[in-house]
Symmetry: C2
């Protein structure tokens, strides 16, 4: 029995004011191509389908197209839950009416405890979806005194386990932050501090746990508790992450294997570091010159319109940093330069406002203050 | 063969900053109660399900609940189209996946030409949904040179008629402004002028045409071309309109009858006219004192805090007009009073700005100008 586990699609996301929809479309096409060539029993999406609760129309149309291809043409069930970026009620509209066609959107606790049971070569496999939640929701719905995400997930797992049946394998889909996992910049923080962390121990009784929220593929605590990682890179901090989906295999004994299947967005997100001339010269022969780039210019002198120059060879430079301007003695010089310049400006201002020059004493006082401020 | 025709629900609408959701919920409950007691073959909703393309979450939940009751529990098909207030792509998400459960959302031209065919005691009945559209959409999609709503609808009807089959009755669902119909204040204008008007003649070949957009129940041109009217009153101009839905009966010969079924919102919208004392006294025994009211105070003298006084007996006064202050000689006096006061203000201003009084000539000039402006 095989299924694909994916998560964190963030359809409709903008990155530095660039729409990622074409890239997302291309990667979804890779998923449908894979499914066509390698039949599996189901596709699981562990939350953050869209980038926000009211997604742009084009993102909805893209998702609609994907669903028609997978559920409609390939006749393959999709089981998904909302993540913290999705609007659960919006996503869940008419979800009961979609079930017969194989589209299962589990968007509330009521549906959480009724699994989607698929018959397979190893017997029935029950998929439980735990829609994204916070302690307050769990407290309110189950009248339980839980105050942390950990307690909430512990309780939800206990609720689900009441529905376990002998001879049935159990898969859980959840969107949460399992303790100790590696974070990226593009995950919206669930909370400040550590109160959002969930122990992997609540999950060990399932045969597989398909997690979403963290963008790097990884296992947590046990081989069968896994993040598939996001559909594609969504921040420069993810530049070295391998993106893809997880092919999960279960057998009579439960979890058998998890295999990473690569997905590759047309534009990669990466960071280039170097002096302008170097970068311009390597860009001319760079086969991936269309990638989305953060450029760190290491030149130690000021450069006129560096963005325009870079975009001649790298059209998709999205962000520019100039750490070269602030290294070693250069940094001190820059500060000194700046200090002189600010003092000069103050002298101009004083002359204009008071119609008199600064006295030597005044000049020293203001220069000292500016120097102190620059060193803070 | 019987079906219910309704339209213009506008779920999620606010009226003078009051949410109508509880009223809408109550009226939808009347519909499900009716359907439970009087089984029909289908429920048709001719557009404007929601009040805007991105409806509030609570409106989506209300619609979801209704759909679960009707499609889920009563096993009755719902056939609906988006109106000009709805977002067609948003409403149409996963519509293919809902069809098997009996929820048919026809949100694009591709689906328009494939009818939903219901088997009935009089043989097959084909329901065609024409999603709300404008000439530009039709021009773009069908590569037709249409420039008015009338031409667009003519073309769409021709496209649909190509799918007509012998021995099948044909029902059209459309959201448009059929010529000569009576308008209310709460319909969002489709366009300025008359270019939004559609002739009823394009529709005569259908056995029934279920129209939406106009809020007053009415037939257009023929007995079988009808507006059901809106779910409830959505403006004070609709105070005398009878709200409800239309029970349509077809037989072997096609259209047989259309019957108005009353729906009654818990709060009516109405206008009360009179002097404050009268209104306060009648309010004490008014059994419908909770209605949503526009009050026209006919008193000819100023009243301190009339809204507070009215709301003691009529808690839902939403709008107040004081035409009594501007009747007959009173009106002239008010203008004169205002003119004196404005001239006084100008004299103050002139004194302050010029440090001098207006000369007699200047005073006359400014007074004349103010008088002239007041009379415009």
């Amino acid at each position: 029995m095989k299924f694909l586990h994916t998560s964190d699609w963030h359809l409709g996301r903008q990155f530095h004011n660039v729409s990622l929809l074409d890239d997302q479309n291309a990667v979804l096409q890779q998923i449908t191509d894979y499914l066509q060539q390698h039949p599996v029993d189901a596709l699981v999406i562990a939350g953050d389908i869209y980038d926000r609760s009211v997604p742009p129309t084009a993102a909805i149309e893209l998702m609609n197209h994907f669903v028609e291809q997978v559920c409609g043409e390939l006749k393959l069930p999709i089981i998904l839950i909302p993540g913290n970026h999705d609007g659960a009620e919006r996503l869940g509209f008419a979800s009961k009416q979609m079930k017969e066609s194989g589209l299962h959107i589990i968007s509330n606790f009521r549906d959480m405890v009724t699994p989607i049971v698929l018959d397979s070569d190893i017997g029935p496999v029950a998929f439980y979806g735990m829609p994204y939640n916070d302690p307050e929701l769990v407290r309110h719905h189950f009248k339980q005194s839980v105050s942390t995400h950990d307690e909430a997930h512990q309780h939800l797992c206990e609720e689900i386990k009441k529905s376990f049946e002998d001879g049935t394998k159990n898969v859980l889909i959840s969107h949460c932050f399992v303790d100790g996992a590696i974070e990226s910049e593009s995950e919206r923080p669930l909370s400040i501090g550590g109160s959002d962390r969930v122990s992997h121990e609540h999950f060990v009784d399932f045969d597989y746990v398909a997690l979403g929220h963290l963008h790097q593929p990884q296992k947590k605590g046990e081989e069968h508790i896994r993040y598939s990682g996001s559909l594609m890179k969504y921040s420069f901090s993810e530049q070295h992450q391998k993106k893809g989906m997880t092919l999960v295999e279960l057998d009579e004994g439960g979890f058998k294997s998890a295999t990473h299947i690569d997905l590759k967005a047309p534009h990669q997100m990466r960071i280039i570091e170097g002096e302008l001339d170097e970068i311009l010269s390597q860009g001319k022969t760079d086969p991936n010159s269309e990638d989305y780039l953060l450029v760190r210019l290491m030149d130690k002198h000021a450069i006129l319109n560096p963005m325009d120059k870079l975009r001649v060879v790298y059209p998709n430079v999205l962000h520019l940093e100039k750490p070269g301007m602030l290294i070693g003695t250069e940094q001190e010089m820059a500060v000194a330069k700046l200090a002189r310049s600010e003092a000069d400006m103050f002298r101009d201002f004083f002359l204009e406002a008071q119609d008199a020059k600064l006295s030597e004493e005044q000049d020293k006082a203001i220069t000292d203050i500016i120097k102190q401020l620059s060193q803070q």
